[in-house]
């Protein structure tokens, strides 16, 4: 089975108090942040690697981003991807549609049975990209996949809906799936693995390689303004002896009608 996994690089937002909006209010300030592979994409990659290990075939990892995004592709190569492609473009001002147009152009030239995306990104979180690319490629798709099993020509999937409800589908290949966390336990990538991946080839494409130009990329959504939410009410830190603190907490919960 030939698999394509589309991945991206996102800021490590575990330090929420570090997130600052840049003066133009279109992006965040990135200089003090660390970056990593998008959480959902790590699960998608692991699912792809597990399928490849079981069924054979190839795995190609693709990202659309500037040069420092190579690091997520190195990670994919270290996990077990055979090929890595980066389409060179600063996507910080792009909407999901623009990135979908680029990915569709690249993917349609490749041989594939299955395309995997993370269900959403940690930074913009639109959850649109996979479904858009599937529509553009004209192939079936399922989103929020938490179970994935493959056999000749088809995949059996489960999607996780509200309150843990599961929907089961059997989908003919080629198909596209967006993968939810919990589908697997992504493996640890050792530093030795990452260093070995530095020796592997990484293909960099310019926008015009698949016949695109900046002028042909017209976004459907334009970001007007990025801002931090207004501060809510201050949290109350309950002080005092454990007995007093417990009494105070019980009163708050009671007043709120919780019990």
């Amino acid at each position: 089975m030939d698999i394509i996994a589309c991945i991206k690089r996102v800021p490590d937002t575990s330090e929420a108090d570090f997130i600052k909006i840049d003066p133009a209010q279109r992006d965040i300030e990135k200089d003090r942040l660390a970056f990593k592979i998008n959480n959902w994409d790590e699960y998608a990659l692991e699912a792809a690697v597990q399928l490849k290990e079981k069924l054979g075939g190839t795995l190609t990892a693709i990202t659309v981003g500037p040069e420092d995004w190579n690091e997520v592709l190195r990670r994919a190569l270290a996990m077990g991807a055979d090929n890595a492609i980066r389409i060179d473009r600063d996507v910080s001002a792009d909407d999901a549609y623009t990135v979908a147009v680029i990915l569709e152009r690249v993917i349609q030239r490749l041989s594939y049975d299955l395309v995997l995306f993370g269900a959403q990104s940690e930074d913009f979180g639109s959850g649109q990209l996979g479904a858009m690319v599937a529509e553009m490629l004209g192939i079936p798709h399922a989103t929020l996949v938490t179970v994935l099993e493959a056999e000749e020509g088809k995949v059996h999937t489960q999607r996780e809906l509200e309150a843990g409800t599961l929907q089961s589908y059997t989908i003919e290949l080629p198909a596209l799936l967006t993968v939810h966390t919990g589908i697997n336990q992504p493996r640890y990538i050792s530093l030795r693995g990452i260093r070995s991946a530095m020796q592997k080839e990484l293909q960099v494409m310019a926008l015009d390689d698949p016949g695109l130009s900046p002028e042909t990329l017209v976004p459907m959504v334009k970001l007007e303004k990025l801002e931090l939410p207004p501060k809510g009410k201050e949290a109350e830190l309950i002080a005092g002896a454990p007995e007093e603190a417990a009494e105070r907490l019980a009163k708050i919960l009671k007043d709120a009608g919780i019990f």
Binding site: D12, S14, E15, F18, R32, L33, A34, K36, M79, Q185, P186, R187, Y188, I189, S190, L191, R192, G193, R195
Partner: protein
């Protein structure tokens, strides 16, 4: 990997599980291997783990989450190595670390270990907190950045980020200031020392950290290092020379011992308490420094030092080594080593349990709370005891 590729393939079969690895030095019971004490199953003792490792490498058993948990519950406390009577005892812990290393290369480690190592890759500390916050512990202390002073005061991850560890890091800084020691710190530029990374089997990441730290220290002209944590002390003293990093490394208790002895630090304010001292593994068994912390305590007026039944090379580990202060595979039970240890401390009649390691401090303080012993036993770092004795609030 098969057994033929495994570095200790020609020796691992020699363990016939005599069981000595579980004993403390005086044969008082079989619970001195912290993981065995917690789970009371042979598989969790060093001998059991070696047999499991061999079975795994020979293909007799499959890798499983449970197997990974068993191997990673080893705290690298070195009790087994001290107690094993056989000639290959020098390598029994290395055999375990090499097996963890194989799991690392296969990517098959317990989730908290993955998180621990990825956080270090990304932020240089196991908590995943930003590198840009590493120096926050020192705000308002007047502690200077290192710029050629006599000592580099290396704080470490727990002292830099853990709230309780930060308190100790600050007090030690103030004690050193009071003694007029010429020292500076690296603040946000400090990186993980790598001791736990090595013990978790991530050899390449450890090598990178050691190389980067050695290059940084040499670039700054560092010659003498004093560490808050015995973990940093251990790796800088014993591993960094292998990376051309020859520094004069002291644990802070060794520095304080000399300062008090030579009159450089006035502890006449004293500290009135009955104190028992818990030997941290990376100061004790790993580096055989049993005297300096005790000498500091004994030279502090008012301290009455009493020993726990298990002490020095027979001490029970707090359960925090080998990354377990974070990955916590030994917690959640009255049999957790930290809880066993605080009960043992209480039996001495001491009202203060002194430690010389920020990992032990957090592990044992949590255990005191879990045991409901707050009224009977306070856990204090020796830096805090000395701080109080020399008038630092």
């Amino acid at each position: 990997m098969t057994l033929t590729d495994y570095k200790y393939g020609d020796v691992i079969h020699r363990c016939f599980r005599c069981g000595y690895c579980k004993f403390p030095i005086n044969w008082m019971d079989v619970n001195n291997c912290p993981a065995y004490a917690r789970f009371r199953m042979e598989t969790y003792s060093c001998g059991g783990r070696l047999w499991l490792t061999r079975a795994w490498l020979e293909g007799e058993i499959e890798w499983s989450d449970h197997l990974a948990d068993i191997l990673y519950s080893c705290t690298a406390c070195k009790n087994c190595e001290v107690k094993c009577p056989l000639s290959f005892n020098i390598d029994i812990l290395n055999m375990m670390i090499a097996a963890k290393g194989e799991m690392v290369e296969r990517g098959e480690v317990p989730s908290p270990v993955k998180e621990f190592l990825e956080n270090i890759q990304r932020q240089g500390n196991p908590y995943g907190t930003s590198r840009a916050k590493r120096g926050e512990w020192m705000e308002g202390t007047g502690i200077e950045a290192y710029q050629g002073q006599e000592f580099l005061y290396y704080v470490g991850c727990v002292g830099s980020y853990d709230t309780r560890g930060q308190e100790t890091a600050r007090i030690l800084g103030k004690v050193l200031q009071k003694a007029g020691v010429s020292f500076g710190v690296l603040g946000n530029d400090e990186n993980c020392d790598g001791n736990e990374v090595k013990n978790l089997g991530e050899e390449t990441l450890f090598e990178m950290l050691a190389e980067e730290n050695v290059a940084q220290f040499q670039g700054l002209g560092v010659q003498k290092i004093v560490t808050l944590s015995p973990h940093s002390y251990n790796t800088m003293k014993n591993d960094y020379p292998g990376f051309n990093g020859e520094f004069e490394v002291s644990h802070y208790t060794q520095l304080l011992q000399g300062l008090i002895r030579d009159g450089g630090l006035d502890v006449s304010g004293g500290y009135n308490a009955t104190v028992t001292y818990h030997d941290p593994c990376f100061l004790g068994r790993w580096n055989e420094e049993y005297n300096a912390p005790r000498a500091v305590l004994k030279s502090t007026p008012g301290v009455q030092l009493v020993e726990m039944a298990r002490n020095k090379d027979g001490a029970l580990c707090c359960g925090g080594g080998g990354g377990n202060f974070y990955i916590d595979l030994l917690g959640g039970s009255a049999d957790s080593p930290a809880r066993r240890r605080v009960r043992e401390a209480c039996e001495t009649g001491a009202n203060v349990l002194a430690v010389a390691c920020p990992n032990c401090l957090t592990m044992l303080e949590d255990a005191v709370k879990a045991e409901g012993l707050e009224d009977k036993l306070a856990v204090k770092d020796i830096a805090e005891i000395v701080g109080e004795a020399c008038g630092i609030k």
